[in-house]
Symmetry: C2
Subunit: 494 residues, 2 copies
Amino acid sequence: MGTPAQQQQQKKPQTAITPTRADDFPGWYQEVIKAADLAENSPVRGCMTIKPYGYALWENMVQIFDGWLKDYGIQNCAFPLLIPVSFLAKEAEHVEGFAKECAVVTHHRLEADGKGGLRPAPSAELEEPYVVRPTSETIIGDSMSRWIQSYRDLPMKLNQWCSVMRWEMRTRMFLRTSEFFWHEGHCAFKDHEGAEKDCITIQDMYEKFFREYLAIPGIKGIKTPDERFPGADQTYSIESLMQDGKALQAATSHDLGQNFAKSCNIKYQDETGQEQFAHTTSWAFSSRVIGAIIMTHGDDDGMIMPPMVAPTQVVIIPVIKADEDPAVMNAANDLAAKLKAQGLRVKVDDRNMRTPDKMWDSIKKGIPLRIEIGAREVAEGKLTHVRRDIGKESKTTETTEEFLGNVKNVLKAVHDNLYQRALDFQNGNIKDVSSVDEMRAYFADEKNIGFVRIDYSAVKDGGVMDAMKKDFAVTTRCLPHADKGQKVLVGRSY
Amino acid sequence: MGTPAQQQQQKKPQTAITPTRADDFPGWYQEVIKAADLAENSPVRGCMTIKPYGYALWENMVQIFDGWLKDYGIQNCAFPLLIPVSFLAKEAEHVEGFAKECAVVTHHRLEADGKGGLRPAPSAELEEPYVVRPTSETIIGDSMSRWIQSYRDLPMKLNQWCSVMRWEMRTRMFLRTSEFFWHEGHCAFKDHEGAEKDCITIQDMYEKFFREYLAIPGIKGIKTPDERFPGADQTYSIESLMQDGKALQAATSHDLGQNFAKSCNIKYQDETGQEQFAHTTSWAFSSRVIGAIIMTHGDDDGMIMPPMVAPTQVVIIPVIKADEDPAVMNAANDLAAKLKAQGLRVKVDDRNMRTPDKMWDSIKKGIPLRIEIGAREVAEGKLTHVRRDIGKESKTTETTEEFLGNVKNVLKAVHDNLYQRALDFQNGNIKDVSSVDEMRAYFADEKNIGFVRIDYSAVKDGGVMDAMKKDFAVTTRCLPHADKGQKVLVGRSY
């Protein structure tokens, strides 16, 4: 019988992750990362170490999207990690938004401190300090000012994959860390039309990438002025709804107008010989998208990896008794080879562990498809497979031949299911309201989650959103393209 | 007739690069980089910007070698960019070798300086400063101390691709810059045998990679104690000879013994339950290898790209008169599609430029194979191609069909020729000497370049090498495996 608390606990289904999403979403999030062995906090304040399984996910994402960028005509390059402080001061709005919390390099040498440790050498203080790049508009703009001479040099489309640093006081792995990984695209065009088209094209690429590879639905829109990138004329974003009902800005493209061109002196001679300022853009998605994957798909048993980018798409667990080793292991390895030949990422879990521990490990890691092969299966030429997104109800035993002919469809079905349930959740959590009062009443109840959709004209002026932010910690997320800029989504966000 | 100086100038063959290698090798090197558009100095002291053509070369190298590392069982991950200063102080020899010249982060915020600029905010001084990683043994060692518990966790094989910073006062693009790109492998093993085997396996991989992909011959050996990595028991290196007769250390693998395991506390429980310190290794090659490619293969007309990693392997130059545009351009594009279908990296140079300018551009960029197609070639179903490594003597006109059947062999021949002539140069510049006096006499003549090979026992003690360094700026490069540790190579180096 036990205490009421114990009784309640007994009633709950057992989950691999404690706490559950319902009990404590942020606590659940941290535990999922730990249980899936994706990353951990490092000894460097606010920075994380991305562990092999987490980094493999990022590498898969990078490889695919980098190919798309190259097809779009992007050229990768590498700009310095450090940025002179004077560069940051060039663009007034930009410095306001970014300069504050940076890692500042002031010395170029250490020396013994006389107490067995090291200290910055006073004789090696830099004349001008540097910051570790928080973003690279200013230093890439400086290069563009030299690389661009004529209209023939335009468009110029550059990108770099790198890490950046913004000193954060309250950090959460993947979502907000002082150092994070991203790509940053920086392009220059002759005119506004070129820059605008670039932003929209890239926004479409982001939405497609999230949909087709991460199984994450995104709402395409533009940001309200107060939520724009510092120094941008227009910010295009993808907003996604996490399972706790908070929005996550998954990717942005910025139309920088001529602001950075003027502060960085990016000029070109046009077809008539006149000097003109270029129009520039910048755009990015970052390793925080891994946080979005966790919070979109994960369940109370842990991570669920979207199959298209999963580091391991199929795990094979040999259910072995000591005297049956060779046949079962041979069958597992043979199956793995056949799956690899289909281009799939496969792993045979041959570790010296109990079978149930291996099963739970694969569940917590979110491997989309788990195969179990025991002696009887081998004898019958069969195998059993279980989908991670559905669990034991999807348990299927079939011949190896049938499975091999169908495995890609099964993985596709996992992907489609993940996307559809995220889309249903998102669509089911957009509340249309017709007045500010109705919006306030909605968010006054903390159980109400997701987006409110309201006429933009109703919240645009008069301090409406200042009050919303102060009272309910909600902000405008975007003006969806689908509503032609007439409506705005309001909600809590990461 | 002109002045004597002008006459002399007229006598020299025209070259695309001024100065020539013979006139001023360092000046030639800088000009090759500029003419090939590989990189440029940045506004950040000692740091370079790698431009798209240079970065594409690096990306090709990364892609290939990363695949090899994964086949070897390496797991990529990402460790923080910053390292606490106290970490550097952990390994005594290591700190002596590395701590001195680093980018030191002392503040986490900027503030307005009242003069329109920004300064580090005094209120945001860090309690403990960080350095931008000069190398990551200490911070990866810290993770390993937590990740490794038992002999079952070993070997642990980690790697990251990143940039690192070592403050340099005298910089040269690719060869010595404050920020440079590299991969750094870090492994832990149960015993000395595991660590030693790892170092040798990786050294073999480096030599094979340089030979098969970069067409650079390398001499495998071990470093003398004074030239080892700070904190290593043994350093294995690949040494290559540049065209000016100076050696370049192209890659190293370090057997760190138990030194870092002890300072970082990397322990494991062995099969008998006893606690043991692990044996660790680290190894790397960096973007300085691009400097080695330039100085191994380049000629007085500029860069020569090794075909296996060349960003563009084949350039097609349509030799166009206005009224023939469509047919020639169509043929060029059709040919490009067929070469791409063979997996080759191809570019049609359709820029609005004079044909000779395009030819010279492709020469200076070092594109291994240049194709010219004009109206007559199109009419006859033929094309003309020229190898970059040989030049106009290799000019061949043949049918498009013949060419398509043979193009991979031609590229292979370019590669083989580049490797063979570099190998001949290297082998032809190793001078065997039988005494220190003979070695001194050799280097006393500045015209004498390359390596001296001498009994290691003759130079090991008694300050012989200190005097050699002081008098002739030469050092021991390595004890070649081929000489079983009995001989040492001595020479000038980068």
